[in-house]
């Protein structure tokens, strides 16, 4: 699958649960599919998505959402592997991290990452996260559905093809991105 196809599937399976999207092409491509109030675009802070997602999952442990989903790249999670250990230790029931693994820093020109030689899913599994390893769309949809419907911290690794779509940059002030997303969370938790 291409990144943008994987993003479309994630958006379909989680139409209302909070999605935290990593920097670079991931945020841009998701936004190009249509802005949604439950989507949170992290336009820089490479590697922080798993930690932000963990904080959201802790805060929303008893909220209305089924899962809080972080969408990270292989390069991004390699920058914050300790967040997997923290998630495995704290065991937030709604934490789900989806890694779109193209074995490259695609957003910066496709330089190879460590996942050309090692499996992030093995690391996540050692951190006591429930792990799904996917290569095709069918497997990916099934994994997302299972993760959505089960309790406990999860980690989905999806191998995708490298490359980026040419889509517009996200130019808003991040304070506005936060305001829109936070307003959505507030409204949903008060419903």
């Amino acid at each position: 699958m291409e990144r943008i196809e994987a993003l479309a599937v994630i958006g379909e399976v989680f139409p209302e649960d909070p999605l935290v999207l990593t920097c670079g092409a991931t945020s841009r491509e998701m936004a190009s599919l249509g802005r949604r109030a439950n989507h949170f675009y992290v336009v820089d802070s490479m590697g922080l998505v798993s930690s932000i997602t963990l904080g959201l999952a802790l805060g929303l442990e008893r909220g209305p959402f089924r899962k809080v989903v972080g969408v990270e790249g292989d390069g991004g999670i390699l920058m914050n592997l300790n967040s997997l250990a923290t998630a495995g230790y704290l065991e937030p029931s709604k934490f789900l991290l989806v890694v779109l693994d193209n074995e490259a820093y695609a957003s910066t020109g496709g330089q190879p990452t460590f996942t050309t030689r090692l499996a992030l899913a093995d690391i996540a599994s050692a951190c006591r996260l429930r792990v799904w390893r996917c290569r095709q769309e069918g497997e990916f949809r099934q994994a997302l559905g299972q993760a959505r419907d089960s309790s406990g911290p999860g980690f989905i690794n999806l191998k995708i093809s490298p490359g980026n779509r040419q889509v517009p940059y996200l130019a808003e002030d991040p304070a506005i991105l936060r305001y829109l997303f936070e307003s959505y969370i507030t409204a949903k938790t008060q419903e």
Binding site: F40, V42, V43, D44, S45, G47, L48, V49, S50, S51, I52, T53, L54, G55, L56, A57, L58, G59, L60, G63, N80, N82, S83, A85, T86, L90, P174, A175, L177, R178, Y179, F181, E182, I185, T186, T189
Partner: protein, 169 residues
């Protein structure tokens, strides 16, 4: 404030007055009694993270859900958190209170830490992060008052705010 253990008690009072939902920490020996106090607290959930940068991200995520988190760490870890503090907490206007224990300076026994700790106020200033400072020279009442004010300043200014606390006797 006569000594370190009294300062720890003042920190406990300050954190309890703020009453955050979560206290996120990376251990430091001087505030061990504070961590011990919150390890089994009826209303404030305390937990460690592996690295300071995570702490900033986790606290921000919690804040976005309408709950509050306070961070407790030592200043040698500030370097680990700067990218997150600036490109996330500041850029996204996420209120965050960091209580940062001072190392370095007279009384410090580790020769390596001066090289970061001594520069911390300057680094924070360069990063545009509002900073309050407390030491044992401040009175026992001033500690909780300053920390509560810093917490409210973070909320009102929609920014991360640091309180540098020096517990060296």
């Amino acid at each position: 404030m006569p000594n370190q253990s009294e300062a720890c008690r003042a920190l406990i009072r300050a954190i309890e007055a703020i009453a955050p939902h979560f206290l996120i920490h990376i251990p430091d020996s001087t505030v061990a009694p504070v961590l011990e106090h919150f390890s089994a607290h009826p209303s404030i959930a305390s937990f460690p993270v592996a690295r300071e940068e995570e702490a900033v991200g986790v606290a921000a995520g919690i804040q976005l859900t309408g709950k509050r988190a306070v961070l407790l760490m030592q200043d040698t870890g500030l370097g680990n958190s700067l990218t997150a503090l600036t490109t996330f907490s500041q850029a996204y206007h996420v209120p965050t209170l960091l209580i940062v224990v001072r190392r370095g300076g007279p009384g410090e026994i580790n020769a390596a830490v001066h090289h970061l700790s001594d520069g911390v106020p300057g680094i924070l200033q360069a990063a545009g992060i509002a900073t309050f400072e407390l030491s044992l020279a401040a009175s026992a009442e001033l500690w909780p008052r300053t920390i509560e004010r810093a917490f409210h300043h973070a909320q009102v200014s929609h920014r991360p705010v640091v309180v540098l606390v020096d517990l060296k006797e």
